[in-house]
Symmetry: none
Subunit: 201 residues, 4 copies
DNA sequence: ATCTAATCGAGACGGTACGTCGAGTCTTCCC
DNA sequence: GGGAAGACTCGACGTACCGTCTCGATTAGAT
């Protein structure tokens, strides 16, 4: 039954189908180059050469270099930052900040910093990062936050985006400025501070 | 006698002296272009043309495009962010976040972002930014925060650096990611959220 | 029974037979494009699109773009340049030069020029043009010239190929260089000059 | 006096002057490549690499590959085809056809063919070839032909341009179609045929 | 009053990557 | 097996910006 339905619905496009192995080789090459030589030096020519793909193929599927690298970035980081449902806001904030810190402490931290840095000088990166990372992930987080608010765990007058900025902003700021070391202890203290506020209770 | 003394003291280099007006025209052109077309499109050729200077002159005094803009950054921003003493922590946080936001909202915001971005790939920029901006300003802020803590306005167990990260991190995060507009209202809400925490009181 | 006999006699290849309508659509599309946009811009993709054929079909039957266009060229021009038998050399030269000029003056002139031009940069065109146009036509002309020589109408020491070069060379030269207009009057004067030579009789 | 005048007239342009050695290296590389690999494979990348110039420099001074090669063509062939004055029409025709044939037989033959071919698809090449090569050279030849006609060595009713077409057309036709080898013997026979005509005297 | 040494504007230059385009090949499904 | 659709590799195209260089003109102090 399932087969019949799929047969009818998923009408295969005519012509040679896209070779997914090529897509993956391109993304892998992009990711490797991003870590090895940085965003600016991860050229499309190099990606093409290393992946064994042609530049034409790259540009058929991505509008520019930035899009390729962001795509690779997203594909790499998405599984490393799964969205878990936890029962209370304390748990939620603490868990996510520690999880995110753990990612930023590894080699992916440099990746994150490189992407955000590139976004400052490249409009393509900026919009790709927004539409492929920030926007979709925020949409997912929003439903959780709405539940917390409905349960009275989060003040009514707080803007969701801003809540997330307060959570993740300090971590990314530290990642990029590096005035002190990024540690799990920092993340825990941060969670506490963010939850309770600067004013004494 | 006079000559000899001046010779010894000032040790004037032979040849035509540097024309300071050119330096200022270059910095101004760089800032203007940054504001108008963004970092990537603020090309050295454009800076040269607009300032009436030659590219050779630019590269004689700065190693690259980023250096020009960082130079402009320090010169422009330092006077715009004076440190004011206010009596309560609420006032302090609100005042400083709004003041900083006002700076970031203008063309200097791009400048700030560009410097932090450059720091991700350039160790010199990184340490220069730390030692000429972050560290000295944090040292000044620290004395204020210590007073607030002594007066019981700030919990004892909060790390000073982290307090500042929680304040400025969200703003800089928003500056660089730009998922929503940076406004004074955002800054006020942020101050409120940071002071009271995410948990309901 | 019928089936068996046909099978044996015609030795029909297995599978779907070649669709001759496709061949003609391809040649027509190639010819049209050749005249409209010239040899260089008559791309295979455009031929495929206009003819409704796929590129694979084109490359199954012709080794390359040049072959397609030459094939089209020959098919178009052969009926337009029939070989007529005339009794005297004067008539022969005058008739053929005028007939050829008439062809070159129309849109087929650009076609001819395009093919010869393409032959300069494309070995495939060169040999195709020689084997499909020059060689077979010269073979036919040769028998006529031999008869004229036998009748004493053409000096014995003249090389046949060279006679044809002297006849057609000037026309093609003018076609390609275009320093003056190609006209029937030009052809008539040319015939006279070629027949009588430059020296006064 | 002379100095004063030159001082006033030849006012040097500001900025770094064009490096003529680069221009010559580019033209030489273009010619060499043309000879070695043909027009189609004489790519701009190859010219840049071989000449040691950058592609940007090539495209700063020439609009495209064809222009580079035509420029080289004129500079190369002009000194190789000097115009000599000879006393009789026979001598004149024989000498010039042999001289021209000698040029076409060498590597410059491909050059000539390539330029005429390029002119078929490129209006700029067409007019440049006419104005920089055909027109000025024909003007020079015309005075010679006028003298021959005045001396009764050339029939009165022959058009000068057509006389030259009859002389050079066959050679260029052979050059481009290459149905037989181009030799000095061919040139001599051609001269004889052109002078005496196809009809027996 | 020259001489020397540096600055400056103009712009040519080598280099590197960009993003595009066409040729010719290969892969899938349909008939 | 023939054919349409279209993905793919290869390689050249022409453009843009970077940072360097080479000029002549300029501007001072030194002789």
């Amino acid at each position: 039954m399932q087969n019949v339905i799929e047969e009818g619905l998923l009408h295969r496009a005519p012509g040679r189908p896209r070779d997914n192995a090529v897509r993956e080789r391109i993304l892998k090459a992009g990711l490797d180059l991003l870590q090895e030589v940085g965003f600016a030096n991860a050229t499309c020519d190099a990606i093409a050469e290393r992946s064994g793909a042609s530049k034409a193929t790259i540009y058929r599927w991505w509008p520019n270099k930035a899009a390729v690298l962001i795509d690779a970035f997203v594909e790499r980081l998405t599984p490393e930052l799964p969205i878990h449902d936890v029962s209370t806001l304390e748990e939620y904030v603490t868990f996510n900040l520690k999880q995110f810190t753990r990612v930023l402490m590894g080699s992916n931290g440099r990746l994150f910093a490189a992407v955000i840095a590139a976004a400052q000088t490249d409009q393509d990166v900026q919009s790709a990062f927004l539409s492929h990372w920030i926007k979709p992930r925020r949409a997912l987080f929003r439903t959780l936050l709405e539940r917390y608010r409905a349960e009275g765990l989060l003040p009514d007058n707080y803007d969701f985006d801003q809540v997330l900025d307060v959570m993740y902003g300090p971590l990314l700021f530290l990642l990029m400025v590096r005035h002190v070391e990024l540690t799990l202890a920092y993340a825990e203290n941060l969670a506490n501070m963010v939850l309770n506020g600067l004013l004494p209770r």
